[in-house]
């Protein structure tokens, strides 16, 4: 079930909400918890019930292993470390089997000219997210940081539907105390107000902004027969850069908003990432909960920066390449991770040398690097990435012939290699693109982000009216355009 669907907004969410608080009101705390689990599993199964057993097996196995780790004593046949290894092997194995098997087979076939048949497994929804969350829990249990002994609580922790499908990736220690807090069992109008407010903003980001850019990005990237001119190349890449941000941060805002209805505060996941002045700053602002996971459970266990400069750079590269492949089974994703690892390493070296540059130049370099790297992240094939990048840097400069009609003197530009023709019309409407992209730059760079809006939220009449308009217009918008969230594919 999508957050931006009628069945979710007008049926599933109100029913889940009212029954949950009704049961809590009647002091049926355990039944309320069971209700939340059932609702979450129903939400998950709505796409395809076939993967319900998989998530249940994963939950049961991880719970059992952590219990063995928590209850460990010297009489056990397996050591505590062995138990952790089994748990990690199971989780990573599950991910490898469902997500990467065909990728491995394809590469084996290419390298050894073999003809091993592909498995064509459909990617189980949310597997990347619930697996990471459980790996974190397993390691935290091993290190004695958490001790969960209640299976129902563990189920709630993994399946809580606002964050189940695409995060934020949460830690047990930040979630379960909130579920246990008795004050969170009663309806809280302040949280509901903020929840509705931030949910509406997220819905607007997704339905009105991201889905608009999605059309242009798809036209540019997925039409291999299309020869893009230089402006179309840039419009294509920028469209995806904005689509991804508004899609994923919109989803996160909605998740945060829905969780708040249940008096649960999810961690923030975005903090104006495109305002970043360097790549390290970007990773502190983009998909914050994934960055946190990678730092705590990959980079630091690899040794972090404790074993000298060279190993630090090596660890950074490895961490980002893992980040790349976590997003998808393909060389374009690995290369995207490699680019980011390299950029972080260069930035680290640069900072250590003490060089400084103007902020505006730092922003231009950082934003353009991010934008160019997204081309590899988005392209389905290498050829598509190269085609878009080639057009961005070596494409024909072609303006819309309508410019010439309005200002005939522009004809002089032909002497400088500019031609007149379709403009951006292979990607989308010329006027629409010319207005939208600058407006979105302003929104992204100058306007307060969702977290700041939450902090400054005051339920005035004006805000109520504005947010009701934003919500209504977003709901009306997704009647005609109906799309899934990008991170559902990762």
């Amino acid at each position: 079930m999508l957050f931006n669907s009628y069945e979710f907004i007008f049926i599933f969410l109100p029913i889940s909400f009212f029954i949950y608080f009704y049961l809590n009101h009647k002091k049926l705390i355990i039944i309320a918890k069971i209700w939340l689990i059932i609702a979450s599993l129903f939400f998950y199964s709505w796409w395809n019930i076939i993967y319900l057993p998989l998530i249940l097996i994963s939950i049961i196995f991880n719970y059992k292993i952590t219990q063995l780790i928590i209850e460990y004593n010297d009489k056990n046949y397996l050591s505590k470390q062995n138990l952790l290894q089994i748990g990690l092997l199971f989780n990573i194995g599950l991910l490898v089997y469902f997500k990467y098997m065909d990728f491995f087979i394809e590469n084996i076939n290419t390298v050894f000219s073999s003809d091993i048949g592909l498995l064509y497994l459909a990617l189980p929804l949310a597997i990347s997210f619930f697996t990471l969350q459980q790996i974190a829990f397993l390691i935290d249990s091993y290190e004695g940081l958490v001790k969960e002994r209640n299976f129902l609580d563990y189920m709630v922790f993994v399946t809580f539907f606002p964050q189940l499908i695409a995060g934020p990736i949460v830690h047990h220690k930040e979630m379960m105390p909130q579920f246990e807090n008795i004050r969170n069992k009663v309806v809280n109008y302040k949280n509901i107000s903020i929840g509705l407010f931030i949910f509406s903003i997220g819905l607007f980001k997704k339905s009105v902004i991201a889905d608009r850019f999605a059309v242009w990005a798809t036209n540019g990237f997925d039409t291999s027969t299309l020869t893009l001119n230089m402006l179309e190349g840039w419009v294509t890449s920028l469209s995806y850069t904005f689509q991804l941000y508004f899609d994923f941060s919109g989803y996160t805002d909605m998740a945060i908003g829905i969780a708040l209805l249940f008096n649960i505060r999810l961690p923030i996941n975005f903090n104006s990432p495109y305002k970043s002045l360097n790549i390290q700053d970007f990773w502190r602002r983009w998909h914050i909960t994934l960055s946190r996971f990678l730092k705590d459970y990959v980079y630091i266990p690899f040794g972090g920066n404790r074993k000298g400069k060279f190993t630090t750079y090596q660890n950074l590269m490895a961490t980002f390449m893992i980040a790349g492949i976590w997003h998808g089974a393909g060389w374009t994703f690995i290369f995207w991770g490699f680019l980011h690892g390299l950029a972080i390493a260069i930035h680290k070296a640069w900072s250590q040398l003490g060089f400084k540059i103007w902020s505006w130049l730092a922003w231009i370099i950082t934003f353009n690097f991010i934008n160019i790297a997204w081309v590899f992240f988005r392209a389905k094939e290498w050829d598509d990435a190269i085609r878009v990048l080639h057009s961005m840097f070596f494409g024909q400069i072609e303006l819309s012939y309508k410019f010439l009609e309005v200002v005939p003197k522009l004809d002089i530009l032909r002497d400088y290699g500019v031609t007149f023709g379709a403009g951006f019309s292979n990607i989308g409407g010329n006027k629409e693109i010319m207005f939208t992209i600058p407006i979105i730059f302003i929104l992204v760079l100058l306007i307060k982000n969702s977290n700041q809006l939450i902090d400054n939220f005051v339920p005035t009449k004006t805000i109520t009216f504005l947010i009701s308009i934003i919500f209504s217009y977003s709901v009306i918008s997704f009647l005609t355009i109906h799309s899934e969230f990008l991170y559902f594919n990762f």
């Binding site: 109008y189 509901i192 027969t225 379709a422 109520t464 947010i467 209504s472």
Partner: protein, 325 residues
């Protein structure tokens, strides 16, 4: 806490009110004052009038503007000596609606020829703003027959921007008979578009056709054609598919995906027992033959296209016309 309770209450009350106000405003107040709807309306009225005036067997060409400016119904009429109507108007009206409109003028024994644009063959349910604006402005009957969700989708496709223009324009006087005549004067009796002599180099500089993935997808557009084919069988109407006139590009002959797509279309129609006239390549012409888009032929090229079409179709059509006479 009281102020938050008020916020939630107001929000819950305001949202349905805004919904109803916005959608009903569009339903009752919106009309398309700045786009294609008016020309679509006068062209359809004109063409339907001629079609309805014919009491004998006739040939009707049904498609979008590729055929409006493409095959000349008047020349087909002269060659085969059978009344012929060019009922094609605008591809943006999409497969289902274009075919729905044609049903109003087709009678038993008529021959209907459909050289749909590829966009209509690949149409897969996407909203068409051209169609929705036209329905809201001129065809409320069709709109009211749609199910509730489809109606909501049509209403919601009108942007605030378009709605604002509509409200602004409602104070103005539009579309006098003079304006109507300024459009109709370019049409002959059969509904062919005349007087398109000039080739615009820049406007015909277009990219290659965008294909769907997978190439062999049975789209909503194709399903509508199959449904229409059954309707024709039930009503004694003879259906032929053909291909749209379009700018020739080497890639259409050399690139595997285009060859696959054109082969798929031919096979698809064949499997559904729908006879096709010509091939996609038969309908492709050099860029200088085109007026202001990849589909719109200049008038001289329309003559060439029509001659070519007659050569491709005469054996089939003469037999069919004789059978009926």
């Amino acid at each position: 806490m009281k102020k938050y309770k008020k916020f939630v209450t107001r929000f819950i009350l305001l949202v349905p009110i805004l919904f109803v106000v916005y959608l009903s405003s569009i339903y009752f107040l919106y009309f398309d004052s700045r786009n294609d709807s008016f020309t679509i309306k006068i062209y359809y009225d004109y063409k339907e009038n001629y079609a309805k005036s014919i009491k004998s067997q006739k040939i009707v060409f049904v498609s979008g503007s590729n055929n409006f400016l493409g095959i000349r119904a008047s020349q087909i009429e002269n060659y085969f000596n059978i009344p012929t109507v060019n009922l094609s108007v605008h591809a943006g009206l999409r497969t289902e609606y274009i075919l729905y409109k044609s049903k109003k003028v087709l009678n038993k024994g008529d021959i209907v020829i459909i050289p749909f644009e590829y966009e209509n063959l690949m149409f897969n349910g996407e909203a068409s703003i051209v169609k929705n604006q036209y329905l809201l402005t001129y065809d409320r009957d069709f709109l009211d027959k749609q199910d509730f969700i489809s109606q909501l989708k049509i209403l919601s496709s009108i942007s605030l921007y378009n709605f604002a223009f509509s409200a602004y324009d409602s104070f103005k006087e539009f579309y006098s008979d003079e304006v109507k005549y300024s459009y109709i004067k370019h049409l002959n009796r059969n509904g062919d578009m005349l007087d398109r002599e000039k080739h615009f180099d820049l406007k015909t500089k277009k990219s290659l056709l965008k294909l769907l993935s997978p190439i062999d997808l049975e789209t909503e557009g194709l399903k509508e054609i199959v449904k229409f084919s059954k309707w024709c069988d039930n009503h004694g109407v003879i259906l032929y598919m053909s291909y749209p006139n379009m700018i020739y590009r080497d890639e259409y002959k050399n690139k595997i995906e285009y060859k696959q797509y054109f082969t798929f279309l031919a096979k698809y129609f064949n499997d559904k027992n729908i006879i096709t006239i010509g091939t996609p390549y038969n309908a492709m012409y050099p860029r200088e033959y085109f007026h202001d888009s990849e589909y719109h032929l200049i008038s001289k090229a329309s003559d060439i296209r029509t001659k070519d079409f007659i050569n491709q179709s005469k054996d089939i059509l003469i037999k069919e016309i004789k059978n009926k006479k």
